[in-house]
Amino acid sequence: MIHSLFIINSSGDVFLEKHWRSVVSRSVCDYYLEAQRANPNDVPPVIATPHHYLISIQRGGVSLVAVCMQEVPPLFVIEFLHRVVDTFQDYFSDCTESVIKENYVVVYELLDEMLDNGFPLATESNILKELIKPPNILRTIANTVTGKSNVSDSLPTGQLSNIPWRRTGVKYTNNEAYFDVVEEVDAIIDKAGVTVFAEIQGYIDCCIKLSGMPDLTLSFMNPRLFDDVSFHPCVRFRRWEAERVLSFIPPDGNFRLMSYHISSQSVVAIPIYVRHNLSIKTGEQGRLDVTVGPKQTLGRAVEGVKIEILMPKCILNCCLTSNQGKYNYDPVSKILHWDIGRIDVTKLPNIRGSVSIATGANTSEINPSINVHFTINQLAISSLKVNRLDMYGEKYKPFKGVKYITKAGRFQIRM
């Protein structure tokens, strides 16, 4: 299992190490740093060294490198590292070098609580928060005055119950349950505008602030849409299998209830189109003309539209005019950013102009692609609809709300 953990900053310094078994010299990180130097953005997640295996993830400019010595499921380690980052973000609202450095002791206490002998011990945020209180200014002052610490001295209540994700005795004056149905469209669209591949990756994120031990049931109008689902452990799988309803005792606060995948059964609607034309002749000025418009949006406005064009290497600069939004071209990374915002259907956003080409460059191998970002509020592109939410086990009447959002995931257009 996980032997040690090293956290490395962007300049390659190890600034935190934690060992759960014997101490492993930090020189083992050299293998990781070597791989990082060779390929800064694409470090392979699993690296074999003569005596150890390094499994790593990169987040917020820091790399978490777990050291293992035996056969171990890599996904297990990767998922655990993700959980470490989530916990840091939960505690310190960020996971960067400076934040970790500011909270060394809490970080160390957390890591010790999360893993024992390489086996995960407590990774549920509500259990950890009972064991080690998150730092905040008020508590720090109070602790200095009263001499108390942020480490709890009694066993967390949820730890061993059948519902480790929820603590007992939760109390709210306003009881509310909000559900965000977020759908991301992943697509590849080819030169001719034909969809090569499209799928929807959906999530239901919840913010639940309910007192006591509420037992919730969420049902859908059209649950047959799902190709694949994965649930938070709180969801009772049997009931889903039998009745296609989500029945669960929710964790307290924010969490992802479910994620789902829609691709094969239904045709995925593509809410946006990009008409593009890039003509290049050697030794000349080329011309670029791009228009964006809404496609299948069921009448909703497409907002937050951003376009990134990865230009061919031979293009030195762009001189463009747009009728909406701002653009900039980075000649080093060859990326043209165009921030459009909301699409006005009566006047479609357009950008056009000339591009200057490096003299003598080989222009035959041009293969630009467009990355598109957009958001559509109040629409789930798969037409998924929540039917109703019922609560059992508690007497009060909660506020309920469902919000639908469609976003671009990895939405690419080949030019």
Partner: protein, 920 residues
């Protein structure tokens, strides 16, 4: 107020200052000081000098301070063992504390202190904690046993902690069960003998399955991994485990999903492949695998490496999911390369158009490695999906037109492979290739181009000029290119001897006199001698037909694949190597293998557990004919394993060199006594077992003049292959040898072929006695046998069908009662029915005829005017087959019902019945 303040130092020296603060009377000061110490430790500073001062702070009611001291102890106790003893008393006391949190903390920390003296004191508290009333303490103690085992395995065994740990498997709390499983599997893993110390049985498995639903996600991974090591006793149990595990596929944690996939893939081996249950299970596996590909890139990478294995084992699962493997331009390179690999594996006639248009798109991307692999992929598609070859070639030509240097080079390398697969089909493009001659600067591309020129020398008008231009810089070329040049020039000379004599002499002298590369020199000498002594023989050797290449070359060796399937989700699955090959200290570990299906146990039981070590034949021939097949086909990550899908005559190629060297001749010409005896028995035997007439197995036009007719027979319990060799060529043939490929029943020759020299237009008969002790590998159809026959001319391959009746053994008679119970035991799903036509004779004559063929009639009944014959037979690999033959008097067709644990044998047996019954 942040923790960074702990790093401020004064001039006096950090350690000194900390020391004085640690000894401060005020609690608060002490705590702050310990925090400073911890902070320094975190960044890797050595603060071990403060050991006594920190340990002094241990006796405290303040939990945070206690925890911090414990953290310190874990790190430094090893370097100060004598001082660490000071802490023991506090630990022992804390293990009795009323607060479970403190009890657990104490036992946990004690286990982390890897000092021998302390472990002695640990035993008693640990024993108590394993039986603690609080599950939190028990769960922590379970892990502590694993820690202790790591420090001193004998102590754990002597103190009986293993049994206590086993008891925890039945604990009421799922968290405790999960941790006990985790500890046990770690102990099993590190056991010195490689044998698991604790085996699971049906009872414990049931407990684990119950705990699975309720424990944490990490516990689920531990439990699933343990389940994967358990082999259910029958299909029913396997099915029920599958049913209880399938819900895990919908877990949010990717590790849980992949571990569940592992267990299911393994259990599917036990389930009969054609059942509905198996089909639905396959369907359920696809969506979660696809979903893993929408997660973070690192998860995707691990998932893809595993999918690569799954696709090779069960291609059906993901055959409709091609599109999810399409590459996005901003995928990390390691994800791109893996996706590409899987795309080729999934490529089929149905989706080839899509795949090709994608590959063409990728071939114009920016990343060089990826582009190269994409071009190679197009070549592999051409070889794999035959109808698409034409499109692939035209796509490659388009790519060559782009004139992008590395694309052109890569395309030439793959076009060479396409030429090898489809000889004499796409030669029209050679001229286009020749145009790009000057741009090639990589050895592999140059070598491929030279090979193409040599191979098609007769069609390229200026082949001699082209090769001559290469020769100018011969000394500077890479060894690979030099070897190719040598062979190409010799080929050219053999094809067009008129004007190329000077050229061939030049290259031979370059190779033999100016080169210090032994390979090159040796090959030069061989060619030289061949050409000077016997140009005809040289032609036979150098211009011989090359074995075809197939798309299978990049597949993992089946036994390795099966082993890796057992390791899905682990590091082994990422490296595609068995753990024994890379995990330290695991050399003694047992290798996992997929469970065998019942009934076919013998069949797979005798399969070779190790990868065959015979060198890949292709690479041997390839080297001789300088085709470098081995290197031209990408074999990612498996290059260490011989691909060995053809290991016929693997080692016996030496004779090819000398055109029948002396040793081989003498071995072949001395007839072995066993073979003769077999022959004599064969003629004088009185058995009336049916022997099919000889069939032509190798026609003369394929055998370069050698014609082989053959048949199988069984006489006196001895299987033999009767062969007639006829030489229809103009020259004598010598140096005969025969070898079988792995086959379903392990047939192998028990003696060498006793044919010496075969004069032109001479015909020789021989009987080859066979045994069933050879390597086993399932063939499709089951009774296929691939044979290689070698002589001084070449190696010839042919396949024939084994009539299954020769495999019925003499003691195939079952007792009546045994027959009855076995018939009932075999599930109805294993029953196959068949209608026999043109049945003549009464039940008795039929039964008699059957007995001669080792099909034994157990009982005969007459039910409502129908005659029922109950028969049994046994195959050489101990598969029992039970049959029920229903005859209606006066009707020429009869119904045959067959029951066996492995119903695969049904079809050939029905065929055997047909042939036997047709005999008069």
């Amino acid at each position: 107020m942040t923790d960074s303040k702990y790093f401020t130092t004064t001039k006096k020296g950090e350690i000194f200052e900390l020391k004085s603060e640690l000894n401060n009377d005020k609690k608060e000061k002490k705590k702050e000081a310990v925090k400073k110490v911890i902070a320094s430790m975190t960044v890797g500073k050595d603060v071990s000098a403060l050991f006594p001062d920190v340990v002094n702070c241990m006796q405290t009611d303040n939990l945070e301070l206690k925890k911090l001291v414990y953290l310190y102890l874990m790190n430094y106790a090893k370097s100060q063992p004598d001082m660490a003893i000071m802490a023991v008393n506090t630990f022992v006391k804390d293990c009795e504390d009323p607060n479970p949190l403190i009890r657990a903390l104490a036992v946990r920390t004690m286990g982390c202190i890897r000092v021998d003296k302390i472990t002695e004191y640990l035993c008693e508290p640990l024993r108590k904690c394993l039986k603690d009333e609080d599950p939190y303490v028990r769960k922590t103690a379970a892990v502590c046993v694993a820690k202790l085992y790591d420090i001193s395995s004998s102590l754990v065994e002597d103190q009986g902690f293993l049994d206590q740990l086993k008891d925890l498997l039945s604990d009421s709390n799922p968290m405790v069960v999960a941790n006990a499983v985790a500890a046990l599997s770690e102990i099993n893993e590190s056991s010195p003998t490689g044998q698991p110390l604790v085996e699971f049985n049906t009872n414990t498995i049931n407990k684990l399955l119950t705990a699975l639903n309720e424990c944490t996600e990490w516990g689920q991974v531990f439990i699933l991994d343990s389940l994967a090591n358990y082999s259910p006793k029958d299909e029913r149990e396997a099915q029920s485990i599958c049913e209880r595990i399938t819900p895990r596929l919908a877990h949010a944690n990717a590790a849980v999903v992949l571990s569940a996939v592992k267990v299911l893939m393994k259990l599917m081996e036990i389930l009969s492949g054609d059942s509905d249950f198996c089909a639905t299970l396959s369907k359920k596996l696809a969506p979660p695998l696809v979903t893993l590909l929408s997660s973070e890139p690192e998860v995707q990478y691990v998932a893809l490496r595993n999918i690569n294995l799954i696709v090779q084992k069960r291609p059906d699962i993901l055959k409709h999911e091609m599109k999810v493997f399409f590459v996005k331009y901003n995928d990390p390179i390691y994800v791109k390369l893996e996706k590409l690999d899987i795309m080729i594996r999934l490529a089929s006639q149905a989706n080839i158009a899509q795949v090709l248009s994608e590959l063409k798109e990728y071939a114009t991307e920016v990343d060089v490695d990826f582009v190269r692999k994409a071009v190679r992929a197009i070549g592999r598609c051409a070889i794999k999906v035959e109808p698409s070859a034409e499109r692939c070639v035209s796509t490659l030509l388009d790519l060559i037109q782009t004139k992008v240097n590395y694309v052109v080079q890569e395309a030439i390398v793959v076009i060479k492979d396409i030429f090898r697969k489809y000889p004499n089909k796409y030669e029209s493009i050679i001229s286009t290739l020749c145009e790009n001659l000057d741009t090639l600067d990589e050895p592999e591309a140059r070598a491929s181009m030279v090979w193409i020129i040599g191979e098609y020398a007769e069609r390229i008008d200026n082949a001699d000029e082209l090769l001559d231009s290469f020769l100018e810089g011969f000394a500077d070329e890479n060894a690979q290119v030099q070897l190719q040049l040598l062979t190409a020039v010799v080929k050219l000379f053999l094809k067009r001897p008129a004007h190329t004599q000077a050229l061939v002499q030049h290259v031979l002298s370059l190779a033999t006199q100016d080169s210090d590369n032994p390979d090159l020199r040796d090959r030069g000498f061989i060619y030289w001698r061949l050409l000077s002594t016997d140009p005809a023989a040289a032609k036979e050797v150098v211009l011989a037909d090359k074995p075809l290449i197939s798309e299978e070359t990049d597949l993992l060796e089946p036994t390795l694949l099966d082993e890796l399937i057992c390791h899905i989700s682990s590091l082994a699955s990422v490296y595609h190597k068995p753990p024994t090959a890379f995990v330290e200290g695991r050399s003694a570990g047992i290798r996992k293998s997929l469970p065998a299906r019942q009934g076919s146990a013998e069949e797979s039981g005798t399969a070779q557990p190790e990868a065959t070590v015979i060198p890949n034949q292709e690479s041997l021939i390839g080297d001789l004919l300088s085709m470098d097949i081995g290197s031209s086909i990408p074999t990612p990550a498996v290059s260490a394993q011989p691909t060995s899908n053809i290991d016929l005559l693997g080692g016996g190629l030496d004779s090819l060199l000398g055109g029948g060297s002396g040793t081989d001749l003498s071995a072949g010409s001395v007839p072995t006594t066993t073979g003769l005896l077999g022959d004599i028995f064969g003629i004088t035997t009185t058995s009336t077992m049916y022997t099919p007439p000889k069939a032509c197995w190798l026609p003369a036009e394929k055998g370069k003049g050698l014609e082989i007719w053959g048949a199988f027979s069984r006489r006196n319990g001895q299987i033999s292959m009767d062969l007639t060799f006829t030489n229809k060529a103009m020259q004598a043939m010598t140096g005969f040898a025969i070898q079988f490929n792995k086959n379903s029943f392990g047939l192998a020759p028990s003696a060498p072929l006793n044919i010496g020299a075969l004069q032109p237009s001479q015909s020789l008969e021989t009987g080859l006695t066979l045994n069933t002790n050879g390597p086993v590998q399932r063939m499709e159809p089951l009774t296929t046998l691939q044979v290689a026959v070698k002589n001084n001319v070449d190696i010839f391959y042919y396949a024939c069908q084994i009539p299954i009746q020769i495999l019925f053994i003499e003691d195939g008679q079952l007792d009546k009662r045994v027959f009855l119970t076995t018939w009932k035991d075999i599930p109805a799903a294993n029953e196959v029915q068949y209608t026999l036509n043109e049945v003549k004779g009464t039940a008795d004559t039929l039964a008699n005829k059957m007995t001669h063929n080792n099909i034994f009639t157990i009982a005969k009944r007459n039910v409502e005017g129908q005659d029922m014959l109950y028969q049994s037979l046994k195959l050489t690999n101990n598969i029992w087959v039970l049959l029920e033959l229903k005859l209606q008097p006066g009707v020429t067709h009869a119904t045959l019902s067959l029951k066996s644990r492995s119903v695969e044998v049904a079809a050939p047996i029905f065929q055997a019945y047909d042939t036997i019954l047709k005999l008069v």
